[in-house]
């Protein structure tokens, strides 16, 4: 125990003399170090690997594994016709899934916002339940729903024996339906937030001017909700590009699964251990996602102005 009052005072002075910025740096430093070690370094390391021929499965031997091969992985990916089919399938999935989520999510939000009824809050809570579930569970659950022999999806809709999980003509739609089911509530929730924020007096003023429903929707509702819808669009597009867990649950990772880029990336990265090739593909996907979201963010900034 330190009972020396002089020494105590000197210690207190030392603390007091520490600047706020120094203290701030001390507190932030562990987080920065953690980020560099866990995120920044692996990101740059995978970039380096994408220009090499490296397999994590083989013993590391510099010059042999990894061996620097320049842009060969990238040119191989971009010149492979099968890979272009995967790009197209992924684009189809993103367009269909995100498009439906936006339409349905916003539509349901409009209905819930405009119609007043008993138990609306409870219904809203029920509607958001799918997005609170684990994607893997959702995938497995839909796989059971889709089973052509005993699944209830075909049975309820009277669709006979359609195979939504492995038939190449239907499996993409099978995944789209499950993803829409899961993530429409997310769009709905953001839309409800946007709709609730529209000042009521704008509608009252429009009522006085005898404005039509369409006029109120296109001139008041949409411009006010638009920024939040764009946020939903950005999030959903990013997520849809890298969808993995739901697809894995529904169709597995074989060739009878929809040939999405994320599934292929998993196969080359963690099944056949073509680490460099997988890194290059990962970077191509990253560039694509950044490019698309940049466009959306540009519109978002414009909407804010």
């Amino acid at each position: 125990m330190n009972n020396n009052p002089r020494k105590k005072r000197a210690e207190n002075m030392a603390y007091r003399s520490m600047k706020d910025t120094t203290l701030l740096r001390i507190f932030v430093l562990p987080v920065i170090i953690l980020l560099i070690v866990m995120n920044v370094f692996p990101l740059f390391w995978s970039l380096v690997l994408s220009f090499s021929d490296y397999s994590a499965k083989k013993t590391t031997n510099w010059g042999v594994n990894p061996e620097m091969i320049g842009t060969e992985n990238y040119s191989q990916i971009l010149s492979d016709p099968k890979m272009w089919n995967r790009f197209i399938t992924t684009a189809k999935f993103v367009l269909l899934s995100v498009g439906l989520q936006m339409i349905l999510g916003f539509g349901i939000a409009l209905l819930l916002h405009q119609v007043k009824f008993f138990g609306k809050g409870f219904l809203t809570t029920l509607l958001i339940l799918p997005m609170t579930m684990s994607p893997v569970i959702v995938g497995i659950m839909w796989k059971l729903f889709y089973n052509p022999n005993y699944g209830m999806f075909n049975m309820l809709l009277g669709l006979g024996k359609i195979d939504w999980t492995t038939d190449p003509n239907f499996n993409l739609f099978g995944v789209v339906i499950a993803d829409v089911w899961m993530w429409t509530p997310f769009v709905m929730l953001l839309s409800i937030a946007g709709l609730s924020a529209v000042p009521q007096y704008l509608y009252e003023a429009a009522e006085i001017d005898r404005a039509s429903w369409w006029y109120k929707f296109s001139r008041i509702t949409m411009p006010m909700v638009y920024p939040l819808l764009l946020v939903a669009l950005i999030f959903r597009t990013m997520e849809a590009f890298k969808i993995f867990d739901v697809v894995m649950g529904i169709t597995g990772r074989g060739t009878t699964a929809p040939q999405l880029l994320s599934m292929y990336l998993y196969n080359v990265g963690f099944v056949t251990w073509q680490t460099s090739y997988g890194s290059a593909l990962g970077y191509i996907m990253l560039i694509m996602i950044i490019a698309i979201t940049s466009i959306f963010i540009k519109y978002l900034n414009r909407a804010k102005q």
Partner: protein, 459 residues
């Protein structure tokens, strides 16, 4: 004085020798008090845990069998080994991985151990060859076979022996309905029973090509009709995988696949058993280790009328009759990255597990198949389960996939390209096999397997 000095020196020298010998002996015998075994999540792993209680009683060493679901089993132990992990002391790994594990130094070489302990002589030569040896033909061993397994068949005796079915079948095909004596006959039976309007289908075979299920079934038909996956010793693929026999074998699989129930594009062991249990197929294929569910009346309402048969022979396109069964199962190997104490405990467990008495107990557990020759030939084993005689027969017929370190890339290309033809009907068997042949040849070429000075044993 001189004498005393000499005597003193002798005493000191002897004492120091004795002390160092005791020290060495102590170090050599230091044994950990527990070991962890990693295996896939299935009934045989539960059996292994129960069986190992005997080892704990005998030695005081605790055994924990850690199980990982099949979907991620292979990846999980590969990731751990890449990281040089000591999380597990023994891994019961897939036979295809033996080359990768040996070359990259993940497993301890057990050649001397299996020779000294008599395991090499006691276990089936074919099991030691496929489960434990790498490179093939060089007599270097990396594991002790734990689970011998192979693809087999279950069929509905009540349907096969039904007089109406028998008469109708004979009228249509010109020979008696019976347990398939050839792959051609098996297809005829599947076609005969196929009645989708009444929700009854001809056969349940694998359709999943995410890992090795489709590949394992395909290798049987390819070999039965006169093709092969290649030459395991020269690494030649051209002329084996793309010959007429291989094409006929793949075409056969595609034809047979037309009689499966809907939604079989991702069918593996659960789906084929489910189809059989739900009574929508007259016969289903599966690894023998999954057949206990079909022999159990609590899980299979048709258990009393379920019979079993071995993969049939077939006269190939060259007129030669062949019979080939795809091998499943795994061997136990000691991880390189563990401490000497853990290694000693792991070796003790392996030695105990390989004993005839332990193997005899192992063989009585449902779904656990021994590779111990004497136990396998015993009446106790043959009468322990209705499918055991077929399992024993399969041991003489089974053949494995490539066990080279490149097997995963080879497996993926094979499954992907042939799966597209067999399941989805894209392209032709000839085109698909030629594409796989070219890719595999390219893989071996790139890794120097065809270089004149290439020595697979040089690692």
């Amino acid at each position: 004085m001189k004498k005393i000095l000499i005597w003193l020196l002798v005493i000191v020298f002897t004492a120091s020798l004795a002390v160092s010998w005791m020290g060495c002996k102590q170090k050599e015998e230091a044994v950990a008090d527990s070991i962890t075994i990693h295996w896939a999540q299935w009934a045989p792993a539960d059996n292994l845990q129960a069986l190992s209680d005997g080892f704990t009683e005998e030695t005081g060493i605790d055994v924990i069998v850690e199980q990982t679901p099949w979907e991620t089993f292979v990846q999980k132990y590969n990731v751990e080994m890449i990281a040089g992990s000591d999380a597990w002391d023994i891994i019961v790994a897939d036979s295809q991985d033996v080359g990768n594990m040996a070359i990259n130094g993940h497993f301890v070489e057990l050649t001397d151990f299996v020779k000294e302990k008599g395991i090499l002589d006691a276990f089936l030569p074919s099991a030691m060859y496929y489960y434990a040896e790498y490179p093939k033909g060089f007599e270097r061993y990396w594991g002790v076979p734990v689970e011998g397994d192979a693809l087999g068949w279950a069929y509905r005796k009540d349907l096969f022996e039904d007089p109406d079915n028998m008469a109708a079948f004979e009228a249509e095909y010109g020979y008696a309905l019976d347990v398939p004596e050839s792959w051609d006959m098996l297809k005829d039976i599947a076609e005969f029973f196929y009645d989708p309007d009444n929700e009854f289908y001809g056969v349940a075979v694998y359709g999943d090509n995410g890992y090795d299920s489709l590949a394992m079934f395909a290798e049987q038909t390819i070999r039965a009709y006169g093709g092969d996956l290649g030459n395991f010793e020269t690494f030649e693929v051209d002329g084996y995988l793309n010959n007429e026999g291989a094409i006929a074998g793949v075409d056969y699989y595609r034809d047979l696949y037309q009689f499966v129930p809907p939604g079989f594009g991702d069918a593996f062991f659960v789906a084929t058993n489910d189809a059989f249990i739900s009574g929508i197929v007259p016969m289903a294929t599966n690894y023998f280790a999954f057949l206990p569910a079909l022999a159990n009346p609590e899980t299979n309402p048709f258990a009393d009328v379920t019979g079993y048969f071995t993969c049939p022979p077939q006269v190939g396109v060259d007129g030669v009759e062949r019979q080939s069964v795809a091998l499943g199962g795994q061997a136990a190997s000691v991880v390189s990255y563990i401490s000497d104490e853990k290694k000693n405990a792991a070796f003790k467990w392996l030695e105990w597990f390989a004993e005839e008495e332990t193997q005899a107990e192992w063989a009585t557990m449902p779904g656990s198949f021994t590779c111990h020759e004497a136990v396998l030939n015993s009446d106790e084993f043959l009468s322990a389960a209705p499918y055991n005689p077929n399992m024993k027969e399969s041991f003489t017929l089974f053949q494995d996939w490539w066990a080279v370190p490149q097997y995963d890339e080879m497996l993926r290309t094979f499954s992907e390209i042939l799966g597209a033809y067999i399941i989805s009907g894209e392209g032709t068997a000839e085109g698909a096999l030629q594409e796989v042949t070219d890719i595999w040849t390219g893989i071996f070429e790139e890794d120097g397997y065809y270089d004149p000075d290439f020595d697979p044993n040089d690692f």
